[in-house]
């Protein structure tokens, strides 16, 4: 990158206690279904009551995590707002579709329709913060957050913005969980996050969350060195691309001391993670972040947040995030910390 990009602040609403206080990842017990639900914070300190009453769950999570991210670095108006979401507000989409059927395409409420659009969260952030600059939402399944991240980097490299509020958010509903179970997304037997990686079965555990970063040119403790996306690579292409990516970034595999991996216990796609791990020294420390947040289209944002927290703690110096979404969308992100 010609212009260095730094992560100036971040905020995460996830199944973990990640929004406030010190983050200690926990392997959550599941009792009903293979789904990790996000822990929602109190919204009243972030959103006016008259607005709050109309918002659905994902909008509240998205807006609040974005505002917390800005508060964490005492910033009010970013130079751009760029997000990714695989599904947008499912709750609103389902309500709208149910009403179409129930009321035979008449007497439809405007609110769920308005909020079911993918860029609702961006609009709310822009309105609340009075940000009239570049505003974009990417909806590309497992590449949604990653394209938002790429666009953010490009905005900075092109000199369009000095700081970009970048986020990824998705929610899971009971109905959507059921639909996805029909096409083999989740493990058929109730599986605990502690056991998911060694389960030796297909499918994984669903998750949800909203994660935001303020990425900018002002130096901070974590540098975003680079990223690369690959679509449906063969194992050979994955190996070659990861080696090439590290070379381009000027980082030797031995310099990476943390691999934040999207391994999710789905036997159909585990081999990709085996391939990526072989490029790095066997001694590299690994964090399998989906044990803590579950699988969803924008889970990569939680992976990047996990890597950022590790670098901020000073325990690691250079972190590689490798994630893939059901074997199709693969991403590398390289982060470097200045604390040690």
């Amino acid at each position: 990158m010609d212009i260095k990009c730094y992560i100036q602040s971040s905020a995460a609403i996830s199944p973990q206690q990640s929004f406030t206080g010190d983050y200690i990842p926990q392997l959550l017990p599941l009792t009903e279904r293979n789904l990790m639900r996000a822990v929602e914070p109190a919204y009243t300190g972030f959103i006016p009551p008259n607005s709050l009453r109309r918002m659905s769950r994902l909008l509240k999570m998205g807006l609040t995590s974005a505002l917390q991210c800005l508060r964490n670095c005492n910033s009010a108006v970013p130079g751009a707002i760029i997000t990714g979401t695989g599904r947008g507000s499912l709750q609103d989409t389902e309500k709208f579709l149910h009403d179409i059927r129930t009321y035979e395409e008449t007497a439809l409420n405007p609110t769920p329709f308005i909020q079911s659009t993918y860029n609702s969260v961006n609009g709310l952030i822009a309105l609340q913060q009075q940000c009239t600059d570049y505003n974009n939402t990417f909806v590309h399944r497992g590449f949604s957050f990653e394209h938002a991240l790429l666009d953010s980097i490009l905005q900075i490299q092109e000199g369009v913005a000095e700081s970009v509020l970048t986020g990824g958010f998705d929610e899971m509903t009971v109905e959507h969980h059921y639909i996805k179970s029909r096409i083999g997304y989740w493990k058929t037997e109730l599986t605990q996050p502690a056991d998911m990686l060694g389960s030796d079965t297909q499918g994984t555990i669903a998750g949800e969350g909203s994660v935001f970063f303020l990425i900018g040119t002002a130096p901070s403790a974590v540098e975003l060195k680079g990223m690369q996306m690959l679509y449906k690579p063969t194992p050979e292409q994955l190996t070659a691309s990861l080696s090439q990516f590290l070379t381009q970034q000027g980082v030797a595999p031995e310099e990476i001391d943390l691999l934040v991996s999207g391994r999710n216990g789905d036997t159909r796609f585990d081999h990709y993670y085996d391939v990526a791990e072989k490029v790095l020294p066997s001694s590299v420390e690994k964090i399998h972040f989906k044990q803590y947040c579950g699988e969803y289209d924008t889970a990569g944002a939680f992976g990047m947040w996990t890597a950022t927290q590790e670098l901020l703690s000073g325990r690691h110096k250079t972190a590689l995030l490798y994630n893939n979404f059901y074997g199709e969308q693969h991403t590398f992100v390289l982060l470097q910390g200045s604390k040690s």
Partner: protein
């Protein structure tokens, strides 16, 4: 009329998700928009849907809607006039 107004207040609270508001908090003649409940233009659309779904009344003319949605009292009077017709 009193029973209709009470029912209408309950339906408004539910449709607009007016948390912490009870039917007795809404004055029959208080303006729904601006002052009073402080509703906005999207709420007015929600109230139109409420009339259509619950009372089978479709308000076609937006100017007519402005008069009907002034208060709970005007809404109730409109519903009764339509039901009597």
């Amino acid at each position: 009329m009193e029973a209709l107004k009470l029912k209408l207040k309950q339906q408004i609270i539910e449709a607009l998700n007016l948390q912490d508001t009870k039917p007795e908090d809404i004055d029959d003649n208080a303006p729904l928009f601006g002052e009073g409940l402080g509703l906005d233009s999207i709420d007015s659309l929600e109230l139109m849907v409420l009339l259509e779904r619950n009372y089978k009344i479709k308000v076609e003319d937006p100017r007519e809607g402005r008069k009907i949605l002034q208060s709970v009292q005007t809404m109730a009077e409109f519903i009764m006039s339509k039901q009597a017709a």
